[in-house]
């Protein structure tokens, strides 16, 4: 499955220090890699990689992605040659002109996640729903990908 590395969020005591060490890793990686442009985009530069889950049952795949605070029209879901792509842009909430910012931890900007589906799906029956900040995509398997019961008669 083609998925960008993601770290489980924990109760960070010093979130700012966490980010500093990310920055140091970033610099280390830059000097270690002979072709930094060709290696995978790092977490820090990639920005937001929303967490997602993939489930499978006998009829379909279900993908759930955490995308809090989005507008429905800012989420794009596409399917191309077995690759499911979720992308979009989170815009900052309209805030007052004279407001002072004390903390700004929430991500703002574009994101993209891609999932390679293990088996073919029926593209025109794919459904996506967005509720409570969770995007749920249901992808019914195509007929040939479903498990079949074959009755063998023995004479």
């Amino acid at each position: 499955m083609n998925i960008v590395k993601w770290q489980t969020p924990t109760l960070a005591n010093w979130p700012s220090l966490g980010r500093l060490s990310d920055l140091r890793d970033e610099i280390d990686r830059f000097f270690d890699s002979p072709f930094p442009g060709l290696t995978r985009t790092s977490d820090l530069l990639a920005g937001w990689t929303p967490a997602l889950d993939v489930y499978e049952d006998k009829d379909s795949y279900t993908v759930k992605a955490e995308l809090p605070g989005m507008k429905k029209e800012d989420i794009e879901v596409s399917l191309h040659e077995g690759l499911l792509s979720i992308s979009g842009e989170r815009k900052s909430e309209a805030k007052k002109e004279d407001a002072e910012v004390y903390r700004s931890e929430r991500f703002v900007g574009r994101f993209q996640r891609t999932v390679t589906l293990p088996a073919p799906v029926t593209a025109d029956k794919v459904k996506a729903a967005y509720k409570d900040g969770i995007l749920t995509i249901t992808l019914p398997k195509s007929e040939e990908a479903k498990p079949k019961q074959i009755n063998v008669s023995v004479n």
């Binding site: 499955m1 010093w14 979130p15 889950d53 759930k64 007052k96 903390r103 700004s104 931890e105 900040g133």
Partner: protein, 127 residues
């Protein structure tokens, strides 16, 4: 306001010491002349799963995500599925009777208005 931030970190420590595991949501905090606004990312939490408690001078936000019960086996899992929790110490200027909370698509909007008494006022000079 510095007190608000410092407290925020010590309470996170206390939450970690407790047996229950929580995740600290990412927040934005703004102050305007009318009050403070806190926005917190808590995907999967709706109005029913949200608890906002006020004790002494601390406001605690706890969010329990809706249990999902998806049929089938897990192929890939990144989402932690844990509850969210974060504590903020309030500026004494906040009028605790008028605090309002709203959940929208997994984001909590907490509005903490300042009491009228501390707001800057224009005083009209009489003759």
């Amino acid at each position: 306001m510095t007190a608000l931030i410092k407290k925020d970190q010590t309470t996170a420590e206390a939450a970690r010491a407790a047996a229950v595991r929580y995740v600290m949501p990412d927040v934005n905090i703004y102050e305007s002349k009318d009050g403070y606004t806190i926005e917190a990312d808590m995907p999967g939490v709706n109005k029913e799963g949200l608890e906002v408690t006020l004790e002494n001078n601390e406001i605690t936000v706890t969010g329990h995500p809706v249990s999902e019960g998806v049929a089938g086996e897990v192929l890939f899992r990144q989402r932690h599925g844990l509850s969210y929790r974060r504590v903020f110490e309030l500026d004494p200027a906040v009028d605790t009777n008028r605090i309002t909370a709203k959940m929208h698509q997994g984001v909590l909007f907490l509005n903490l208005p300042k009491s009228e008494a501390v707001k800057p006022r224009k005083i009209v000079v009489s003759e």
